[in-house]
Amino acid sequence: MGPLSREAWAQRLGAFRMSPSTFMAGAESEDLGRDLLSDLRNEKLSEPTKVSLLALSLEYPDKLWPDALAAEAAATFLLDTLLLLPPRPSALRRPLLLAATTTLLVGGALSPTSGASCRLLPLLLGLALGRDVGRGFGPTSEQRLLQATACECLRELESCKPGLLRGSLGLLRSLSGQAGPIQPLSMLLALVLRNTLVVQSRSGAGLQDLLVAGVFSPGGGSWDWTLAEEADDQLLPQTPSWPAAEKEPGLAGLEPSPEEARELRAAVAQLLDTSYLLTTVAQAQLLWLLGWALRGLRGQSPVIFKPQLARLLGTAQVTLLHSVLALKAAFGEALFTAQDEALLLRRLTLAAQHPALPSPTHLFYLHCLLSFPENSPLGLEGEEAAPLLLGHQLCRSLMPDLLNDPMAFLARLHLLCLLCAEDEEQEKGQVPSPRQYLLELLAGLRQRAALDGSPQDLATLCFQASYLVASCLAMQPSVVKPLIHGLSQLYRARPLLAPRFVDLLDRVGPELGRPLKEVLWQEVVTRPGKGEALCCHLQILEKVAEGGAHRATLNFLQAAAIHCTDWGRQQALLRVCQALLRTGGGDGLADLLQGLARQLEDPDGRDHARLYYSLLVHLAGPKLRVALGPSLATPTLASSLVAENQGFVATLMVQETPPPIRLSVEPHRAKGPLPMLQLQVEVLDPAYSLELRFCVQGQLYAPLKAIHIPCLCPGRPAHPLYLPLQPRRPAPAQLHVQALYTTPTGLTCHAHLPPLTVNFANLFLPFPQIPKGSERDFFERLWDSCLPKGVESCVWCPLGPQGLEALVSHHLEPFVVVAQPPTSYHIAICLPPDSMLLLRLEAAQVDGVPVVLRTNDWDLLPLAGDYIRGLAAC
């Protein structure tokens, strides 16, 4: 794209500013940064246009040059442009310096290896120190302005890379006593001084003559990149927030020598002495900076700030008074005696209401009063409280009245509440008492909120004030009682405020909530209404109605049903019924619901009524509550109907959940006519009425019976479970397990457990009724009976170090028929339904034993082989 005209640029910049993200997503986006740079050297464009281009680069460098490489290139270009400017006065030099600084900082390109950084830093320092920085750098008339700008740029660099200018501290100090713009140099010096103190203290190094003038080398070398190189989290808060800052170790690590301490004191004193020459905002910055810098530093007394205080206390400039408060927080008693504290509070109280000051300032000072950093605070940290020294007299001058704007009113009301809370005992004699006044105020607010057509703001204020009073003075019946009465009157006058009452009931504690519910209920059921008022009544009733007792509620609903002609009102009515169901139903409710199921015009309403009726008559109380309770299936949907429906679905249908237990198969000594699986249970979540269902793949066994357990709780020992197996064929199998159970909240859940494996050995049974004394004959008979239908095979059974005897006793003990330990064993295993496995283990060798086996079932052969070969490994 060629050079753009002024208008074209104005249009393009306008489009960009409208929405940078949209613009950058468009086609033109890529060229913007490039065009902007090249047009800075376009001689057809005027300087103001170029300044506005630079202004854009000051605001959005990250959009124009998103990475370090692009930022480095852009900064280089900006610096080149600066040098190319003709030596006459130009409005571009300042913004070019600002833009180059911003671009390097934001693009993350500032580093000792960056060419642009290595050019910019010496240039800025040279300008700041008032040196000659070389050819064509503007006329002398511009030098002072550029000097100031360079100081600001260096200050920003030092803010983002603390410690960068540590080496130039002495130079800056020597300069600030001489000529030069006082504010930029003072502010730069103060920041570098403070950062140096913190950095040196953290590294445990002393001040190392840093305060004494260094030598200026135009080639650089006075930059300290060590910290700048480190990660960004090395940033130092310039004005740390207390109380967090109070917990910091401070500058304890710094132990300046007496010489250094003197030098430091002189530097700070010099800055403070000339501070009156700075603008008020800069003075405030200086005080924050130096105050927190010297806090806790050995050999530096905060008294050095004292001469400034009297001057500052006379003004009500918000930044100045704020900085005095910061000094107060930093030094406490060391700088402010009790009398000083009292005076500060006086000035603050005065400023918080002075007619010459604007409302936001009043509000800020009121906040400062309630969060005042006291010398000896009594309350909890972080909790708003009236400072002790504020005293009743000052407090009372800040009493709210109805003419205050809402925020000032609430702040003052809070103070009044604190006063009432404190005064509970003392004020009996006073007429009128602060409490009386408080109640009058609340009455005034309610009167305004009750006014027909009064703006929402008034209602908001009324309810916020009521909430504030309720939360501060909930324990004082003399306040709560009239408040409740007044609120019920307000509701009577303006039922349209129902949503706010519901909100209030949701927020306040039981001291106000319970009696307020009661009076609102009274208010509703004794004054049935029509139209809008009815909607409001239903809304309130939904919140306050308690099931079980009130005939009056049911009568009200019965009467209201006639007026509920549209869907919305019917739903509101049904919501009240639902609330009653949830809190216990009550005798007449079933009749009411049955009536509604017939009577309501809207089919949806009728359906709901019918549903509630069925739920009421079929479900027991706890289950009913759960069924109607808020859906557990988050997230909640916007529509109440859907949400409600979800609640039913959740409760009346079975939920799929992760398993509440873990099962494992335990080794088990076989007994009885059928193989039995012993299962160990590990309980993860509580489960009631648990039913475990087992299903075997491929019909290898007869269908398995379910196991029922009434209750399982984590942490309580669980008994093992026994699962009888009825094999149709003697084969190992996988059992699929499902759990069906009820949660403590009453939901019915279903879970799939990991499958259980039935091993071949789990099916083994000993032969019953072996005649005593003729075991050998018995075995031989069995052995012979296997052939010719069956099969004989020979398998090598490897033995572990424990030998044959241990192997047999460990795995095959119940099935041994004839034994000649330790060398020979005859074993007979019965495998239901009608198979057998016979083993002869004889002539064991060191590493194994040959096993001759016979079975009447060919299919068993591979299983038996695997079993025997794997025995030693078990």
């Binding site: 409208m18 300044v51 506005s52 202004a55 000051l58 006065p89 934001v106 302005l145 600001e152 920003e156 803010s159 000529a179 930029p184 310039q238 004005t239 740390p240 927030s241 207390w242 967090a244 800052a245 009156y276 020459l277 700075l278 603008t279 008020t280 905002v281 910055q285 001057r311 206390l313 006379g314 400039q317 408060l325 910061a326 927080a329 006086r346 005065l350 002075h354 007619p355 000051l357 604007p358 409302s359 300032t361 800020f364 009121l366 906040h367 969060s371 007299q393 000052l394 009372r396 925020m407 009128p432 602060p434 005034g444 305004r448 057509g453 908001t460 909430y467 706010r500 909100d503 927020r507």
Partner: protein, 466 residues
Amino acid sequence: MAQRAVWLVRHEPGTPVCGTVRFSRRFPTVEKRAKVFNGASYVPIPEDGPFLKALLFELRLLDNDKVFVESRDSCSRINKTSVYGLSVGGEELWPVVAFLKNGMIYACVPLVEQTLSPRPALISISGISQGLEFLFGMQDFLYSSQKNDTELNTKLSQLPDLLLQACPFGTLLDANLQNSLDNIGFASVTQPQKQPAWKAGTYKGKPQISISITEKCDLEGIMPNVTISLNLPTNGSPLQDILVHPCVTSLDSAILTSSSLDTMDDSAFSGPYKFPFTPPLESFSLCYYTSQVPVPPILGFYQMKEEEVQLKILVNLKLHESVKNNFEFCEAHIPFFNRGPITHLECKVSFGQLEVFREKSLLVWIIGQKFPKSMEISLSGTVTFGVKGHNKQPFDQICIGSTAYVKLHFRILDYTLTGCYADQHSVQVFASGKPKISTNRKLISSDYYIWNSKAPAPVTYISLLP
């Protein structure tokens, strides 16, 4: 101690968005620090569009704000300062300093140099007061001597350049933006040493001092030191609650402590009140004070009673004999709130003329330059009202039923109620050359209400003061 961004938003009720962003400026180097300091609680500065929407919603300035929105209006969401949290893109941008003045919303987001959760107390965030000062500075710049929209637009168009001077990196250097404007002009002047940063240049012209006690003090010329004394006559009411301009270099402790919060006694400090200062170039308010004069300048009562369809009113006013009976103007405004237009009026005044604004339901009693010899005047009559028109007649949240007031507007030149005056000869100027010194005084009514004695007035707490 820096700002991440600043906005000027024009509130335009009745338009689809209800406002436009007239000016905005972001400070990316500060933003970068915010990201590090705030850590996981960092919320980026939104673009102008979403910011505007969130701001208007939070300040309840959207046209459809008539309904209760729990997330904003809940009784437990109590905001007691001009600092807000704006919900933007599901996150909360905090702290946003904002206030509405003359249809313009001034807003900025100060840097907080720590994590935002839990939120630190506002008192411990230095950027809050700086943000307020910044916004006041912009407000002063936009509305000082500005008459119409064209001038406002001109001033708005100057803002980007001014901020390059006054706040190049988000750290405010001077809240007085006019100074920055002058600074550009003074750039070519070689300045002497120790030029205060708040003084933009040197004054070239005849030195002069003019003092005007409407709590206002004009003076020009570069002079290192001036001391002005305010004096009271022997029976004058002591000046209290004195706030001084930051250029005042020292203050007597008696001035610092004299306060309306204390009980008055004869020992109260009664001057002379000395203010040594180094003046800035522009005219400025040297000090503000309050005072408790024993009697109001105009005493009176107002009785209003509803009788069936009409109101019966009676107003009696009496000028105190000690007050100079020579007004620039004097009027009594009698508004009727929350009622329909005036349809019928039968009224008699003992002095002056009565103007009727029927649609606005307002009576203005023009008393003129002087009270009559008796010093006492009265108005009596009946007023009848029509049906309340929609939004045409004034609404008031205080004046409900018979709660009503008469408001007096007056100005007396060359007079102060306290008797306070500045003696030309007591002005000390420590500089070469003799400045021309002029002084003047005037008394202006501010909120001068006389409430209906036949109905409850808004509660005041005066009765509790001992």
